[in-house]
């Protein structure tokens, strides 16, 4: 399969699983973010949601508890001064994070104030998002020319490009592209020349690094 065909197959695979509510929260966030960057994904989700809406109307209702409406009104009253939607981007690269696609912004702001950026490799920093108990979601900031240590993967890794671009031996990944890697892939992502590359990486198992730098990274980040 060509680089482009692989991209398209992966996009469709993720979108259909998202529509069926079959993704982990971290991967669902990745698909929602991609929909903000890719009209095709947005259209596929809109079509699938319209199917879901029509089927919701046709479904046989299941009665709720007799006092369900009263309880909902009581919970609404208790939550009324909730302002958790407000976010601030105080911290390194906050201005860049504030311009990320909408689905990511609140996560990024919270992560910036809680954990902050971590060193990953020269020219590469990561910001861990608190999205999912199982999967790891992080924003990667790769400067032009910066290179991640060569590594392979225990599980699956999905990396959605948000700004700029990076490449590995398989090809170049531009804004909206998703790089997929698993145990069969050993790669060394490198930031392309041009704007800084921000990406959202979702990993379902710890990365296994190869070589001396990888070993150092494991030591530093554990």
């Amino acid at each position: 399969m060509s680089h482009l065909a692989r991209q398209e197959a992966l996009r469709q695979r993720l979108t259909s699983a998202y529509a069926a509510a079959a993704l982990s929260p971290a991967l669902a966030l990745l698909v929602e973010t991609q929909a903000a960057l890719s009209p095709e994904t947005a259209r596929d989700i809109a079509t699938a949601d319209a199917i879901g809406g029509a089927l919701l109307e046709a479904d046989a209702p299941e009665a709720l508890a007799a006092d369900a409406l009263e309880r909902v009104f009581a919970r609404i009253a208790a939550q009324d001064d909730d302002d958790s939607d407000r976010v601030s981007f105080e911290g390194a690269h906050g201005e860049d994070l504030a311009r990320l696609p909408a689905p990511l912004r609140a996560h990024a702001a919270r992560a910036l104030s809680l954990s902050g950026w971590k060193f990953a490799a020269p020219g590469i920093r990561s910001l861990s998002l608190n999205v999912d108990g199982d999967a790891k979601a992080e924003i990667l900031r790769i400067e032009p020319g910066a290179s991640a240590p060569e590594h392979t993967h225990d599980g699956e890794e999905f990396t959605l490009v948000l700004t700029g671009a990076f490449h590995d031996h398989r090809g170049v990944y531009h804004v909206g592209d998703i790089a997929h890697a698993d145990a069969s892939v050993t790669h060394r992502p490198v930031g392309e020349a041009g704007p800084v590359c921000y990406s959202l990486a979702v990993t379902h198992a710890p990365l296994r690094f190869k070589g001396a730098l990888g070993l150092l990274q494991r030591v530093f980040t554990h």
């Binding site: 069926a20 809406g53 479904d59 108990g133």
Partner: protein, 209 residues
């Protein structure tokens, strides 16, 4: 059936007949109710939306494998979100049903923390790539909504059932194959075919699979 206990409100019509059967929803009417909730936090309008949608959202949650208590809780949470985010509803973008389905689906994803790949078929492009369309030719969101409904109404029942299993019941293609006894490859191609038919009816020149 859930009884609506609200004060008399001329704007709100019953959506449940005396015999308990649901009338076909009037989309403009439900959109008006949403706007009433957004504009003036209209509790009667919300109660009418609740009476129609909360039991359906609960049914959806049960389909996706939630137990009765969790389905009840999630249905209530979805309706709380409907109240809080009512201002974001845009009738030009989607019907109330589609909008609430989206909230319910996303709430289920957040709550489920399902096994990462439970419903995740390898290398299975269900959605066909769309040909490039000029912006002024592109189907608007509202038109898509209408077209999907019209197409669903004319698809053979077995194809509607397949789309329902894949998009609504949250079954993987493998689970559908096991449930129906149809070979996995056939399930995949039939779902592609049914989704492709919706695409054709949406006006794409190339609806091929």
């Amino acid at each position: 059936m859930l009884a609506i206990r609200t004060k008399e409100a001329p704007a709100v019509r019953p959506t449940t007949r005396a015999d308990g059967a649901q009338q076909t929803p009037d989309r403009e009417y439900f959109a008006d109710l949403m706007n009433a909730v957004a504009a003036r936090q209209d509790r009667d309008a919300f109660a009418a939306l609740f009476a129609y949608y909360a039991p359906r959202v609960k049914a959806y949650m049960l389909r996706l494998g939630a137990g009765a208590a969790l389905a009840e809780e999630l249905a209530q949470e979805v309706m709380i979100t409907v109240w809080r985010k009512a201002g974001l509803f845009d009738r030009r973008q989607a019907s109330v049903s589609t909008w609430i389905f989206r909230i319910a689906r996303n709430r289920r994803i957040d709550a489920a923390r399902r096994a990462k790949h439970a419903n995740f078929d390898e290398h299975d492009p269900m959605f066909q790539p769309e040909p490039e369309t000029a912006p002024d030719e592109a189907v608007s969101t509202a038109e898509r909504e209408e077209s999907v409904r019209a197409a669903l109404a004319t698809l053979p029942p077995e194809q509607v059932e397949l789309l329902k299993q894949a998009f609504y019941d949250g079954l993987s293609h493998r689970e559908i194959a096991e449930k129906t006894g149809v070979p996995l490859g056939t399930v995949k191609s039939r779902i592609r075919l049914a989704f492709g038919k919706l695409r054709i009816r949406l006006g794409d020149e190339d609806g091929s699979v």
